[in-house]
Subunit: 202 residues, 2 copies
């Protein structure tokens, strides 16, 4: 939020023409649309500027690179996030949340997070922002929900919420990137059921 953006408070020092929020939104929308149409790699800053009908400097004043724009656009799109909605049972609510996540991954936002996560492997600052604005908020929510489940006796008392998050959700990211199969509800169920029951026989 303040690492990737540029001159976040630069204009607040004195009077002057304020930055147009309308232009700000136009850039975000143009960038997101272009990425979904042509892919992250295929588009350039020029393309975004042209589609938004703004000068390139107007973009560089706000963001330092392509990834930073897409990050903002992505968070703005998906932020009305998928919480843990109540279901028939405690564990069913987890399954539904996983399905909701898989649905996001299947949709247009899946392409965005795929590009962001990949780009973050080469850009530590982007990685930090992705953690702060996407990963960690969702992990915190899940941890709270799992702790409640332990307390209420739905989960084993020796369950570590962090490990449980990784086991349940990492496979979704794995399929998103590896393409070893579809991110279907059936796949979610398979992961969920196996993880809840465990593999060991006795």
């Amino acid at each position: 939020m303040e690492l990737e953006r540029k001159h976040e408070g630069a204009q607040t020092t004195g009077g002057g023409r304020p930055r147009s929020p309308r232009i700000h939104q136009a850039i975000l929308k143009s960038a997101a649309d272009l990425v979904l149409e042509s892919g992250f790699r295929a588009i350039s800053m020029d393309d975004i500027a042209a589609r938004a009908k703004v000068g390139r400097m107007t973009i560089y004043r706000r963001w330092c690179n392509k990834a930073a724009i897409i990050m903002d656009a992505f968070v703005a799109r998906v932020d009305p996030g998928t919480l843990f909605v109540p279901a028939r049972t405690y564990t069913e609510s987890i399954r539904l949340q996983m399905r909701s996540m898989a649905k996001v991954f299947r949709g247009k936002d899946g392409a965005l997070i795929r590009a962001l996560l990949a780009e973050a492997q080469f850009d530590p600052r982007l990685a930090a922002e992705l953690r702060d604005r996407w990963t960690m908020p969702r992990r915190k929510m899940a941890i709270a929900y799992f702790q409640q489940g332990i307390k209420d006796g739905f989960l084993r008392p020796d369950v570590d919420p962090d490990a449980m998050i990784d086991i349940l959700y990492a496979p979704l990211y794995y399929r998103l990137q590896m393409g070893t199969g579809p991110l279907s509800d059936a796949y979610v169920d398979e992961i969920f059921d196996h993880a809840m029951k465990g593999f060991r026989k006795s």
Copy 2:
């Protein structure tokens, strides 16, 4: 192996100066060294050519881009792969194999596969090659081992080997990319133990 490389059999058509295997190896080593020193993004084809003391055309004759070189270098380095070695018990062997994988991820090869996996998100051909030369061979081995475990009664008969792979190994990739914590043996144990036991109380 034949998708990314260029002119794989182009020189076998007629007589002519054969390509030097010594140069081939020099390029692979230079590329790998440079990536480990400066990072995938920071280096260019020129840098690789300069370090290997070859012309750039000599590189483009063999590989179509940076990622293809690193892919070959990576597979050459890590191919003496980590199999399922016998341990005290059937399941302990799985744990050891996971630890071995985590060790690879912690080491220099971890940086290479991180870059390759990220790059593959933007390059379908590279993604296919990564699947064929890294992911799938290891999945096949794991599937065989898990099927044997089911047959021998060490694992529940209703276990799906594919799902089991995802649940056990996807968390390692997750940490490799997200940086939510260290890829330590302790982490591997936590994932392994939780996955084997399951989360549900009753």
